[in-house]
Assembly symmetry: C2
Homo-oligomer: 349 residues x 2
């Protein structure tokens, strides 16, 4: 059974009260720019004029992809598939970018094996929600069966609910999976209707020729596909297990009234699927950064989202979400801790 996630917007609607609260702070109205809109989002999701988000957590889901080469043998990724499990080992050892960025920002990290083609055994610090050792190739059929997709969605939702049960109010999302930009490009193309060219980028570093070949291949593949366009069918057809698990985690997190901090292109593909299933999800999300990966702009535009950072990142792992967290924290503190004109005895304009 494909799960269905009911989701209502954050309640009560505090947006007017939050804006009034910000306008009474000792600063010219609007002078904190987009930090003020962010503060409204944080207060709205946390349901208070005085948000204390506490320590954020970040979930990194990893998975491998069956479609790493097109039928003519052209690579879709600049890196070999082994890098997925090697990077999971790097996460567990604490040496990857996301480990460093999470430590600096005070974020607790969760690493999930959603479908890596490697036997890690039982490992401390690794959440085992492996569906299979990698997806099937979408050159041969769906990447995963409907029941595998449903299980990944349930797995993700379960992880998010377990984290929420610890009192966590903010959850960031990241991923690792060699080949998953191709997967995200296909999902983005189908769900937004944007041209394949605009949805396809260099991933970890394809050159011009490889990018052109990847774009042609994906366009042909998507053009030949006539399956159902509902979000979970698209996800099963082209997704990775890490993406499907993230979709479930996002939906579960929003149902638990957490603030969602979305990373870059792959995480936003998961957010696209989740929002297509439950449009109210959009109001629980903060989009952390605008990736250098080409299709990210398409995703953000489709979701009507403006990203906080624009630093030409294209790493994934949740790195942008970790980098943006201090802005979320700052926005909450502005609401919670700044003096008002009245309390500070400052004259108005």
């Amino acid at each position: 059974m494909t799960p269905h996630f009911d989701l209502s917007p954050p309640a009560p609607d505090l947006s007017d009260a939050l804006r009034t609260c910000l306008d009474n702070k000792t600063k010219p109205p609007g002078s904190l720019g987009r930090l003020e809109a962010l503060a409204v989002r944080v207060g709205q999701v946390l349901g208070t004029l005085s948000p204390a988000p506490g320590q954020p957590h970040l979930l990194v889901c990893a998975g491998d992809h069956g479609a790493l080469r097109d039928p003519r043998g052209q690579a879709l990724s600049a890196y070999p598939a082994d890098v997925t499990w090697q990077m999971v080992e790097n996460f567990l050892a604490g040496g990857a970018a996301i480990n460093v960025l999470a430590r600096e920002a005070g974020i607790e990290l969760h690493i999930a094996d959603a479908g890596v083609a490697h036997d890690f055994g039982r490992r401390d610090g690794l959440i085992d929600v492996k569906i299979a050792p990698g997806t099937a190739s979408w050159f041969d059929g769906p990447a995963m069966s409907a029941s595998q997709c449903a299980q990944a969605l349930r797995n993700g939702a379960g992880i998010a609910r377990d984290i929420a049960a610890r009192g966590v109010r903010v959850l960031g999302f990241g991923e690792m999976g060699i080949g998953n930009t191709a997967s995200a490009s296909l999902i983005t193309h189908v769900l937004t209707g944007a041209a394949m060219d605009d949805c396809t980028g260099r991933g970890t570093g394809l050159d011009d020729a490889a990018l052109a070949a990847k774009t042609r291949t994906l366009a042909a593949l998507a053009g030949a596909w006539h399956g159902p366009h509902d979000p979970f069918s698209v996800l099963a057809q082209f997704g990775g297990f890490e993406i499907a698990t993230l979709v479930g985690a996002m939906l579960g997190a929003a149902q638990s009234r957490m603030l969602l901090v979305i990373d870059g292109f792959i995480s936003s593909a998961a957010a696209l699927v989740a929002c297509a299933h439950a449009p109210a999800l959009r109001d629980y999300c903060v989009f952390s950064h605008r990736s250098q990966e080409r299709g990210h702009a398409i995703q953000l535009d489709h979701l009507g989202a403006e990203a906080l950072l624009d630093l030409d990142l294209r790493l994934g792992e949740g790195s942008g979400a970790a980098l943006a967290w201090p802005l979320v924290r700052a926005a909450a503190a502005i609401l919670r801790d700044m003096a008002s004109f009245e309390s500070a005895g400052v004259s108005r304009a």
Copy 2:
């Protein structure tokens, strides 16, 4: 005597070694985007491949301006002059935006009275470097005498050196002074040669008519001025005491081999003056954000600088510098703490 600040570039030149170090980290080369250029800047200024910047400090200089209305009585600022001292009180009480943002980011704050038109008495936490209770109006002549300007420069350099003597390696800069966007616009116009229109903005919130009047007034004033165009003469003519003190603090901080985190339009006007005096200063600076205040883009372009954040901020106080600090900290940690391909056993492309 006008002080002269000798300043050499950071030494030794570690930029190649820093780039190699970043390329060996477990991530696709360049995938951390502008965070990598930031890491090179931090390593270069701190003189190490493994930078540990420690706790940053931030200096907020406050001063009042003689020219708050043009000769026809049109206000140059949306707020009354009393707001300068009222906001200094707010800083001392811990309720302003910069207090909140500095606390969240773990930044130690220093508040300096560089020339506020108010008697604070002796106050814990307020550095008294008051030159005079506000500048003279540039509608009548120079805002300050050459000797006042020299004293403000020395005061700022002294504050920065005192902070450096405590082992601090990162210093941010902010300001408070009703009327100081006009001052910064004039300095920017004269030092960059950009049209007055492009250097003039709404400050704390002028409406269209007031902005047009301010622009006309400042253009006429600058056009009629034929004094010497060396940076400290321009500073004395149009500066505020808070800006002059910041210029000295920036130069003193760079001489002490600190990394400088510059805030928005007013702080960047100080950086313009400091760089015009000692061009090597540019290489010690991180530009934290692109302000909504119109002339900031002109300043950044003139300095060949790209700001880290673009959040439509226009508050000042060092708020953008405080918000950008976590990015600086993250960039340093990437260099210092991330695993290499070799150490983590991860395959290369």
